[in-house]
């Protein structure tokens, strides 16, 4: 059968039911109204981490690779974007783009090294490589050492649209958020994504079917790192700061937790996990190390009893009904 445009259109029409359109519109409406109810900066922060977690999940949930060094991409992009905004004075979208490019290149380098080992070693290698970026961030002159880069200006978008107002910026970040999630969604539901899942289920089998698994893993790693860079760069723009927290190993662990809590292997689960963790941190920010303890406890509970995560659990329940 020839895939004429009409065929494709009919196909698409079939796939998107009226119910889904309604849900989509409802989601859009909720996100549009949300900043009038909740503090926009908090929402933007949650969205940045949601992008980060979904990008991370592309590796953990859909390729079966546990990277323990994703803070490197998030943090490096955060620093580069902050530097671009403050020192180079470029417009917002170029700053985020430069962060993404750095994250992409870093992802290419780290990925090429880390995929030489599997499983537990892969996790340790990514962690060690990320720690190297942390040490560099501490030592290099442009990163500001312990202070980080503070007072990052929100330069106009495309050089014309003023985004210094939180509400305006919220809608910009909302668009970035949807673009980021759409990118993950498209990757997962593409032939490429199918191969990734085949690798997750059994790498030897995927290899025996003739797929060069290392290549697929590397590309997945680079996409994931680049999107983590999108999250990091946007975060620098929103919070107006890039600091060592962004590149620290705890950040790498946090994104694992967000993914695990929301449901790894689900497309939007990590976003839910990210929203919950950011909310938790917000509520407990005045209580010192209590937030660390509770984060750790959630981690342990998730690993021991709740491995499907929130969205994963809901999906499983719906299926058995």
């Amino acid at each position: 059968m020839v895939d004429s445009p009409m065929h494709v259109a009919a196909h698409v029409r079939q796939r998107v039911s009226g119910k889904q359109v309604a849900i989509g519109l409802l989601v859009l409406a909720v996100f549009a109204v949300l900043p009038f109810v909740v503090y926009p900066v908090f929402l933007m922060k949650a969205m940045c981490f949601a992008i980060f977690a979904c990008a991370f999940n592309l590796l953990l949930g859909f390729t079966g690779l546990l990277s323990f060094g994703h803070a490197a991409f998030f943090g490096a992009a955060s620093y580069v974007s902050a530097h671009a905004l403050r020192v180079w004075g470029v417009s917002a979208e170029l700053a985020i783009l430069s962060g993404m490019i750095v994250a992409c290149l870093l992802g290419l380098a780290f990925g090429a090294i880390a995929i030489r080992r599997q499983g537990i070693y892969f996790a340790m290698i990514t962690l060690a490589l990320a720690q190297m970026i942390f040490v560099l961030a501490l030592q290099m002159p442009f990163t500001g050492g312990e202070d980080g880069i503070q007072g990052v200006p929100r330069n106009p978008l495309f050089g014309v649209i003023d985004i210094s107002d939180n509400l305006t910026l919220y809608y910009v970040v909302l668009v970035i958020f949807f673009l980021g999630l759409f990118a993950v969604h498209r990757t997962v539901h593409s032939p490429f994504g199918q191969v990734l899942r085949a690798i997750r289920e059994s790498e030897p089998r995927a290899k025996s079917l003739g797929y060069e698994t290392d290549r697929y893993k590397l590309v997945a790693f680079v996409i994931s790192a680049t999107l983590a860079g999108l999250a990091g760069g946007t975060k620098a723009l929103v919070m107006q700061v890039a600091s060592l927290t962004d590149v620290q190993w705890q950040m790498s662990g946090e994104v694992v937790l967000m993914t695990l809590l929301g449901g790894m292997g689900t497309v939007f689960g990590p976003a839910v996990g990210a929203a919950l963790i950011v909310t938790l941190q917000n509520f407990l920010s005045g209580f010192g190390s209590l937030v660390t303890i509770i984060t750790g406890a959630i981690f342990v509970v998730c690993v021991l009893m709740f491995r499907r995560g929130i969205v994963g659990e809901i999906q499983a329940r719906l299926k058995t009904k």
Binding site: L66, I113, L129, M132, W249, G253, I293, L304
Partner: protein, 305 residues
């Protein structure tokens, strides 16, 4: 004074000594990780936190019970070993049938809990630990015989030398116990094929529990040694453990002696980097890890799985 790299020979010697002493910690900790990984297939992220707990326990024993360093060297590993046994029985046991990554994630969660609790209890700033008088002070070592210059005198801190010596002794003892004794042969056999060893009537689950306890005890022992060197802080373990992970990747976890040698060697390399190019000393181990992965992905002493 005789100089190498614009540095007096005596300072150079001290740097090498510090390097060996850092290497001693890498060796003990990576040894513990390797022993645990061999039996449990779990990368014990909590290792750094357990090392930190060892240092704190030594501090608490001295501060509140008047129990000194020498007793701490024995009591702390025992306490931490018991702590490890509880963790293995309560948590890790439930994960053996799952992907190994869950073990890493669980122990990571435990790190956050333990570190958080310690910051809450003792604060984030460092606490001082008084080392015993016997190990305090320095020894003067004239280098005139070596360089022909009367002014070349090396100051040797006794405690650092003690750390190196006792670490070598402990590492060799562990190596002997695993490679040369009957119990060790059970352990190695159980690492290779647990179900077969079980069929011979050996209680493998108990061995797994004890192995984890032993690995944790090693971390605790290293913690006591570290208490005499640096301020005791809740975060002293986490930064160290990531370097030890790199050490483990470089060495590969296949061989006990390999872990020991890699640990000491990397401590030395770090010292040389500090002398030749100080800015790079913090990342040199990571760079070596990258190089080893490019040339020999299985690690220097590792076997390809």
């Amino acid at each position: 004074m005789t100089t190498v790299f614009d540095m007096p020979v005596s300072i150079l010697g001290l740097q090498i000594l510090i390097g060996l002493q850092n290497g001693a910690f890498y060796a003990i900790l990576s040894l513990g990780l390797a022993v645990i990984f061999g039996m449990l297939n779990v990368i014990n992220f909590t290792h750094g936190a357990q090392y930190m707990l060892g240092a704190f326990l030594a501090y608490v024993l001295l501060q509140y019970a008047g129990i000194g360093y020498w007793w701490a060297l024995i009591l702390v590993p025992i306490c931490l070993g018991l702590f490890g046994i509880v963790i293995e029985r309560a948590f890790l046991r439930q994960l053996y049938d799952l992907d190994h990554l869950y073990g890493l994630l669980l122990t990571f969660g435990l790190v956050l809990i333990i570190e958080g609790l310690m910051v809450e209890t003792f604060g984030a700033s460092g606490l001082p630990y008084a080392k015993p008088e016997l190990l305090d002070g320095t020894e003067r070592l004239p280098l005139a015989g070596l360089t022909g210059n009367e002014r070349d005198v090396m100051i040797l801190p006794i405690y650092r030398m003690w750390v190196i010596v006792i670490s070598i002794v402990v590492c060799l003892a562990v190596w002997y116990a695993i490679e040369k004794t009957r119990l060790g042969s059970y352990l190695r056999a159980a690492t290779e094929n647990p179900s077969l060893v079980r069929a011979f009537g050996i209680n493998v689950p108990l061995m797994i529990t004890l192995t984890y306890g032993f690995g944790v005890a090693l971390a605790g022992f290293a913690g006591v040694l570290a208490a005499g060197l640096q301020a005791v802080t809740p975060h002293m373990g986490s930064n160290l453990i990531i370097i030890v992970f790199a050490v483990v990747v470089i060495g590969g976890m296949g061989s006990i002696m390999g872990s020991i040698l890699t640990g000491f060697a990397l401590g030395l390399v770090e010292a040389v980097a500090k002398i030749a190019y100080p800015e790079a000393s913090n990342i040199v181990i990571f760079v070596i890890m990258i190089l080893v992965l490019l040339v020999r992905p299985a690690g220097l002493f590792g076997r390809e799985a």
